[in-house]
């Protein structure tokens, strides 16, 4: 029995895949922007002088980094309603991605901050800057520049990981694929094509982050 591949069977359903790509992109963009923001705050807290806050953030980071994203997602979507927190599929997916990326980027950005020479901070102190000013004007940009490749990789990982959000029926790309194969029984062809789509998306995302990095850290003369 020779199987006959029929990739044409996907064509009528292209709209589903298109919608999926859009939603995966939305999830990724929101997750990345807020997640990295959370990571910056987390890294700040880890470096802060208040040991309690630093330890709480430390526990958060370890909890997230040592449990699967899928379980985090299930906990947020199925478990949180028990606490009265009801979220839509999309909200739960976005929240899970933010929380997940927040933990990883906290660690990554913290490493970047630690790599800033002490002299930079002393110079800023000597110019009478306070902690917030030092962080904002002197520390964070060079720190982010240092770890931008690692942060970019992590964002790509989170984008790829979002494929399991189909499991709570968030209608992203994998959800679209599942839906199509249920309609046309061409599972292999559908997943093959969708894998290709993810590959293209991860390449584009990587390029986009590179361009963004150049834009953020490029030498612009502000004055």
């Amino acid at each position: 029995m020779a199987y006959k591949f029929d990739f044409g069977a996907i064509v009528p359903h292209w709209q589903l895949l298109f919608d999926g790509v859009i939603l995966t992109t939305e999830l990724t963009v929101i997750g990345a922007v807020v997640g990295v923001g959370l990571g910056i705050m987390g890294a700040w807290a880890r470096a802060s002088r208040a040991p309690v806050i630093s330890q709480i953030v430390g526990v958060y980071v370890e909890l997230i980094r040592n449990t699967p994203f899928l379980v985090q997602l299930f906990f947020i979507f199925f478990g949180l309603p028990a606490l009265g927190v009801k979220l839509t599929e999309f909200q739960a997916a976005v929240l899970a991605m933010i929380v997940n990326l927040g933990a990883y980027s906290t660690e990554i950005i913290r490493a970047g901050i630690q790599a800033i020479p002490q002299g930079q901070i002393e110079a800023a102190q000597s110019l009478a800057m306070n902690r917030v000013q030092i962080f904002r004007y002197v520390v964070i940009l060079p720190a982010l520049k240092k770890i931008w490749p690692a942060l970019s990789s992590q964002i790509v990982i989170v984008m790829l990981g979002s494929s399991v959000c189909s499991q709570i029926a968030a209608e992203e790309l994998t959800f679209g694929a599942n839906y199509i194969q249920a309609l046309n029984f061409r599972a292999f062809e559908v997943y093959f094509v969708v894998t290709g789509l993810y590959l293209v998306m991860s390449i584009l995302l990587r390029m986009g982050l590179k361009v963004l990095g150049n834009f953020l850290f490029e030498r612009r003369r502000h004055v």
Partner: protein, 242 residues
């Protein structure tokens, strides 16, 4: 009353006591050189003056006001006391001009135009009017150090601390930086410097402070101290240099 008064300053790093009771007063317009072997505590002493090192015991009075280690006090102190470092410590992601403008803008809340005007003035003063748009890594060590001086001056400090400002420089770049420091001294800026440039210290300073094992071992007029050291330690220190 002196501009800065230090009384019975003590400072330890772990077991090691680096400052063992320092008394020092700095008058307005005075140019003071701290000299001594490495490990004598001179850099640490300098860094206590603007609160980069928090003292264990003793009193620091700046402009009649006692400084505690509270953040607000430290920020107030640092508004009065500028510092220039051995390693320049320019911010690599800002141009020379931005390096100088940053603190007046964000700390003193000056307008951009105001900050820019002062920054241009200060950079011109250190002879770098034509390098304002350069980034630190596009400048030589001597130029970077002059930007660092301009950056400190833009805050209009009452005292400027110089921590071995020429030690990281190639020999041929030392003079351009010393010339700027000399000019500041001549203009009446209050300066405290840790330096190994003995000839420069002798020519420019009003007061020499020789540190030895965490204490002020000998102090006085530079001519006097150099030509007629009273203690064997200073004598051997000066002699070792000659």
């Amino acid at each position: 009353m002196s501009l800065v008064e230090l009384h019975a300053i003590h400072k330890s790093f772990g077991e090691l006591e680096v400052l063992k009771g320092i008394d020092l007063s700095i008058d307005e317009g005075q140019v003071i050189a701290l000299i001594g072997k490495s490990g004598s505590g001179k850099s640490t002493l300098l860094r206590t003056i603007n609160g980069l090192e928090v003292i264990d015991d003793g009193v620091i009075i700046v402009d009649g006001k006692k400084i505690s280690d509270r953040d607000a006090d430290l920020l107030g102190l640092r508004l009065q006391v500028g510092m220039v470092f051995q390693q320049f410590n320019l911010f690599p992601h800002y141009t020379a001009l931005e390096n100088v403008m940053l603190s007046p803008q964000v700390v003193k809340k000056q307008s951009k135009a105001e900050a820019k005007q002062i920054a241009e003035e200060m950079l011109a003063k250190v002879g770098l009017a034509d390098k304002m748009m350069h980034y630190p890594d596009q400048l030589s060590g001597g130029q970077q150090q002059r930007v660092a001086i301009a950056r400190a001056l833009a805050m209009k400090p009452k005292v400027l601390l110089c921590d071995e400002v020429t030690s990281a420089l190639d020999p041929e770049l030392v003079n351009e930086v010393l010339a700027v420091v000399r000019q500041l001294a001549e203009e009446g800026m209050t300066l405290v410097m840790v330096t190994h440039e003995m000839r420069f210290a002798r020519e420019v300073c009003d007061k020499l402070v020789f540190m030895h094992q965490g204490r002020i071992h000998e102090t006085g007029d530079p001519e006097e101290v150099f030509s007629n050291p009273k203690t064997p330690e200073l004598s051997s220190f000066v002699g070792g240099l000659a």
